[in-house]
Symmetry: C2
Subunit: 535 residues, 2 copies
């Protein structure tokens, strides 16, 4: 840039600085009986950042969090980068070994863990390679079961430290790592930059129509793509966050009826939970519900409209800061039948304002025709795409071959420029909004001594959207019960990833080169009439 | 930036690309009977950019426009940077010599002029140093009086050219120059970058609450700070522009009553014109009126509220892309008396979301106390501040001394962090939303052979906000009538800059070092009871 240019590195840290200045007394965070003003939110982040420095955290160091959607998790989104460090928000449904892998791979020096999640940490005592201290975040009164300072004691280390500037020296610095289950077994650490998080947050403000009067309910896990950058977006516009330790029908409806919630986000499963709860009732105000993870069904859209909610459908991946596209509403759709409108809204849509145009390409990286029929791969580029996988140049290069990020998602391109997903090339199962890598489940099953090989596909599930089903070939002369295999999986991977169904088969369908043909398994399921499998 | 970062240079060009893709058939521009869809808007910009290339315009070249708020002016905001060139939108109220200076100083190679403005160009025939061609934009049927191609003929040169990417290679490239009347005589060319224009436009979308349903009425001149970056913001969100060749009560109210206008912007003078028109009536919808250039008076705010309009008060300068601060609304103000609320709303406020925090500093660049009484200078920094003055490193360095852009505006800082202007250190007069440099007027007066010296101050004016008044010392034994001096000014500078009042005096108040004491003149005016001069 020319020397004379007046320049400030883009960072979402500036958002909390501004809101604390403009709305010091406004309620920033609500959690149960707890209320934090924007002044307190910023002061807490400052003190925690100072405490991180006092604990030896230097710029670029990783700080991991294993917490539900509590205020401490929200504050971490500002305090950790304020200290110049990198936030690693870990999926709190993972198994001990997965947590260990992420801590070790990221080289996290500190780990903050909610006491409710301590049991999953106990097997890791003394086994984390880089973590120097585990800080116990008080979880609903549950006693700590892990050695290390309490959150209050840790925070105290930052008392009296000087004020840190809400700035970053380089907007391309990593602000956080998000570990994806990916498709090739091991989780990969997706790097978000300060610039990308800033721009994605501005995009969320615009597309989710946040205003300073917004009251945002935290039904979306903050560990999932940093809650689609919403911690930064909601704070930036100066709205109020409502935290939720547990995302259940009761807690959601308690918030919806006692607080003036205007916005929430979540997978269609969350919407379904909301709509089918006994407490469900029409709200006396507009509620904007942003959804992703799976296309919202016509049923869900109709149910949401009945509650007085407007559905904003977005699509993305961990690698693109959460949402990349939005199914941008067209006024002419208002005149259509509900079913037609729902079909339009179930499409993944077009790029957000701050993202490069979305593309659907063939194997030679040429755009497929916009005919609504030709299938190609969804590829993405620009400021709303990750900086790469942490310490994994090979996977990064592979993901970016041809200069674009390859989503692995297969889609058609409609004549109006909206894309619609048709399959997941990577066979990821999306269950309750969370990714389950079929390869990972297969590896767990194959880990059992009686198993020869296994193939996992997603089968439709009313509650979770999809659940894993495994086709298993046993070793010669070996016997094992289906339930024993399921229990085995629950011991080695997160419980929610274990298959619900096991079918023992003589052999698996394969190509001549030995590559598994999962489409044949799906076809078999469909023709057997057991499930309505998507193509 | 690290090599692996996926990166796209920020540019508002991407906004038209997106809206043309998402809303191809939507009405983008309305002007009288003319309607342009977003598809046509983008195609027109593409063709014009190709025509610019075919006419020898290379990246970095300057292209000047002298036009009212017509579709061609809006299209230029995309077509010129699409060709890699720099837009110079000239104030269409300037005198011939001022236009010549700007064309020559910017080195503009092409000049597009509305035929209604041809008379002011006639004296410049053969006298423009760098302009190769003058393109005649058809102005309401007025015949061309200047040699050069018609707009239609020029556009034809771009027919059949290939599609240009809506991209820029470096976001710090200059997208346009805006000449300010400044305070040191000669106009200075303020350089805006693609990055700054992009971010300011996102800020306008958020703070003016633009949505895709917005219908924006062009009451703000597009030549003024590029219409506060609104050409980019309104296009980015995919809203509709309504162009206005002439900003008069009749044309404004015609648009307000026949089109579903939701937003407009302008100086308080424009609001006053609206409110005091015989056609004024309460609108059946919310109208958001963004105002700047002078604090909106309690009277105007009350009048606007009566019409059903909500006032958003912003403040900035040419050097900061138009608006830099916004008087951010606080919910608690709703309960206050109109007069109290209006006093709050008349303050310049706090930095926009995309700007660095605003500061009010003393001579040592230290923040003044936030006591609502101590006066300091308003300084600004960051992405919402110009890249510098074109070809004027000396003025640039002076404006940025201490690392901040010095606005020259004096303000107090209130305990709630909102700033409030108290005086213009540079003595700029704001008349009808347009800047008048008192120094420039003084120089014009002193150019008359009978005048020894002159000092100009702004005096309140019901219609224009402020008008210039000159205190003149004649040369010994010389005589001249006030009207002759006024007529003289109208010949050498823009007519609207000529003083309305002349007072002949024996001498001007000065400091011991000979510096003019304008505050003494203001004091004299006030004590004489002739005007209510601000302190």
């Amino acid at each position: 840039m020319p020397a004379e240019v007046s320049f400030t590195a883009l960072t979402p840290l500036s958002f909390l600085e501004r809101s604390a200045q403009v709305y010091p007394e406004k309620i920033a965070i609500i959690h149960g009986e707890c209320r934090l003003s924007y002044r307190e939110f910023a002061a807490h982040a400052q003190q925690l950042a100072s405490a991180l420095h006092a604990s030896g955290i230097a710029p670029g160091d990783r700080v991991a969090y294993l917490c539900p959607n509590i205020p401490e998790m929200l504050i971490a989104h500002f305090a950790v980068p304020l200290a110049g460090a990198v936030l690693v928000a870990i999926n709190n449904r993972l198994a001990s070994e997965e947590i260990r892998y992420i801590c070790d791979h990221s080289g996290a020096k500190l780990l903050f863990v909610d006491t409710e999640l301590h049991p999953v940490l106990e097997p890791l005592a003394g086994r984390l390679a880089s973590v120097r201290e585990i800080v116990s975040v008080d979880g609903a009164g549950v006693a700590s079961r892990v050695a290390g300072p309490s959150y209050a004691d840790f925070l105290h280390r930052g008392a009296g430290e000087k004020y840190l500037p809400w700035k970053v020296d380089d907007e391309y610095r990593t602000i956080c790592l998000n570990y994806t289950s990916g498709t090739t077994g091991r989780p990969k650490g997706v790097m978000y930059t300060h610039r990308g998080a800033y721009l994605n947050a501005l995009g969320e403000i615009i597309h989710c129509t946040f205003t300073p009067e917004t009251v945002y309910l935290w039904t979306l896990p903050m560990f999932h793509c940093n809650g689609w950058c919403m911690p930064w977006a909601v704070t930036g516009i100066g709205a109020s966050h409502i935290c939720l330790r547990q995302v259940r029908a009761q807690t959601i409806w308690d918030a919806l009826t006692t607080q003036a919630v205007t916005h929430l986000a979540g997978a269609p499963t969350v919407l379904s939970t909301m709509a089918n709860a006994p407490q469900a009732q029409r709200l006396g105000r507009e509620l904007v519900v942003t959804t992703a993870g799976a296309p919202p069904s016509p049923t869900i859209i109709a149910q949401m409209e009945k509650l007085g909610a407007r559905v904003v459908h977005v699509y993305g991946l961990t690698e693109v800061y959460g949402p990349y596209t939005v199914c941008q509403w067209q006024p002419r759709w208002a005149d259509e039948e509900v079913a037609d409108r729902a079909r339009k809204l179930a499409r993944q849509g077009v790029a957000m304002l701050i993202a490069d145009p979305i593309r659907v390409v063939d194997e030679r990286m040429c755009d497929v025709p916009r005919d609504g029929r030709t299938i190609g791969e969804v590829v993405m580029h620009g400021n709303n795409v990750m900086a790469g996988y942490f310490n994994d140049p090979e996977a990064t290069n592979k993901a970016f071959h041809g200069g674009y990020f390859h989503s692995g998602d297969l889609a058609v391109w409609h004549p109006d420029g909206y894309i619609e997903l048709r399959d997941r090339a990577k066979d990821i199962i999306i269950s309750g909004g969370e990714n389950i890598s079929t390869i990972e489940v297969e590896q767990a099953i194959v880990g059992h001594p009686a198993v020869l090989e296994a193939a996992v596909i997603g089968v439709p599930d009313d509650r979770w959207g999809e659940r894993p089903k495994a086709f298993v070939v046993l070793k010669h002369d070996q016997q094992v019960a289906a339930q024993e295999l399921i229990d085995h999986c629950k011991r080695v991977i997160a419980r929610f990833k274990a298959p619900d169904f096991i079918e023992f088969v003589e052999e698996l369908p394969k190509t001549s080169t030995g590559k598994l043909q999962k489409f044949a398994l799906r076809e078999r399921e469909r023709s057997a009439g057991r499930h309505h499998i998507k193509d």
